[in-house]
């Protein structure tokens, strides 16, 4: 389990580097899909299967929308992948920064630090995270109302921003 977690964490950092190194938006969206998938694996390894499922569904839908926007609004005749020199330079720079951080913190890490904690110790019917999320409907009702109101407000904002030509932005 420790090696699986190590691989997932390395994949997460590499995915964020592939987003941050300024490739074309197609490839950046692909890198973000990689980060979301690997983050799902990290959450699964820590026992949060419901949060992992929600994250996977939300980010898959979001990245689908972003791919559509790439094809519609930000299309380039010659898209830049990570092999271009400008992109490769920033990839190497960010990798150097991460390696510096790893070597700075390397002394404090030990073998057991990779092993994730288990789920709840006692035997229980519902998993810890889905039980916690279900709490949103009883005690956290106020926050649920607030987020529903924020989503409605965002719908009105989006409609107003994209209403007509020569408006907005």
């Amino acid at each position: 389990m420790a090696y699986i977690m190590l691989t997932l964490l390395i994949g997460m950092v590499l995915g964020v580097i592939s987003v941050a190194s300024n490739p074309s938006p197609y490839f950046a969206a692909l890198g973000l899909v990689l980060v979301a998938g690997v983050g799902c694996g990290v959450l699964m390894g820590h026992g949060g299967s419901f949060l992992s499922l929600v994250l996977f569904l939300i980010y898959l839908g979001g990245m689908l929308v972003v791919f559509a926007y790439c094809a519609a609004l930000a299309a380039e005749p010659y898209p830049e992948a990570w092999g271009e020199w400008s992109v490769l330079g920033s990839v190497l720079g960010y990798l150097l920064l991460v390696f510096g951080g790893v070597s700075w913190f390397w002394g404090g890490w030990y073998e057991g630090a990779w092993v994730p904690v288990d789920e709840l110790i006692e035997f229980s019917v519902v998993a810890a995270d889905s039980g916690g999320v279900a709490l949103m409907y009883s005690l956290g009702g106020g926050l649920l109302v607030v987020s529903a109101w924020v989503l409605l407000l965002t719908l009105l904002v989006v409609l107003e921003l994209t209403r007509g030509l020569a408006r907005g932005a």
Binding site: L6, L9, M12, V13, V16, I17, V19, A20, N22, P25, A28, A29, L32, V35, G39, V42, L43, H46, G47, G48, L51, V54, L55, I58, Y59, G62, V66, Y69, C70, A74, S90, L97, G101, V102, F105, W109, W114, P116, E119, L120, A128, D129, G132, V133, L135, M136, G140, L143, S147, L151, L153, T154, V157, V158, L161, T162, L165, R167, G168, A169
Partner: protein, 98 residues
């Protein structure tokens, strides 16, 4: 600082640096914001999972809802920019001083 903490912090900081330095498209900047929100989501989830704080696992869900609001507002701004200025290059927005 455990390796998991280091990974999440470096993911957030790398997303922030990618947003701050050289962006070509507005869509790339939005993707960097998404990467930062993803790192925050995983950090909040791992906090509640590692501490066995069951009731706290609503917080990443609510943050994901707010992150969806942010992403949709950003994409609407992208559409409005592409309609009024023809392109979504940030250099173009700098040149037009908008």
């Amino acid at each position: 600082m455990t390796p998991t903490h280091f990974t999440i912090s470096s993911a957030f900081l790398l997303g922030l640096m990618g947003l701050a330095f050289h962006r070509t498209h507005l869509l790339s900047a939005l993707l960097c914001l998404e990467a930062m929100m993803l790192a925050l989501f995983i950090a909040l989830s791992l906090w509640s999972l590692q501490l066995d704080a069951t009731g706290y696992s609503t917080a990443p869900m609510l943050m994901l809802a707010f992150s969806a609001c942010e992403a949709s507002a950003g994409l609407a701004l992208l559409v409005a920019t592409a309609r009024t200025h023809g392109t979504d290059h940030l250099q173009n927005l700098n040149l037009l001083q908008c």
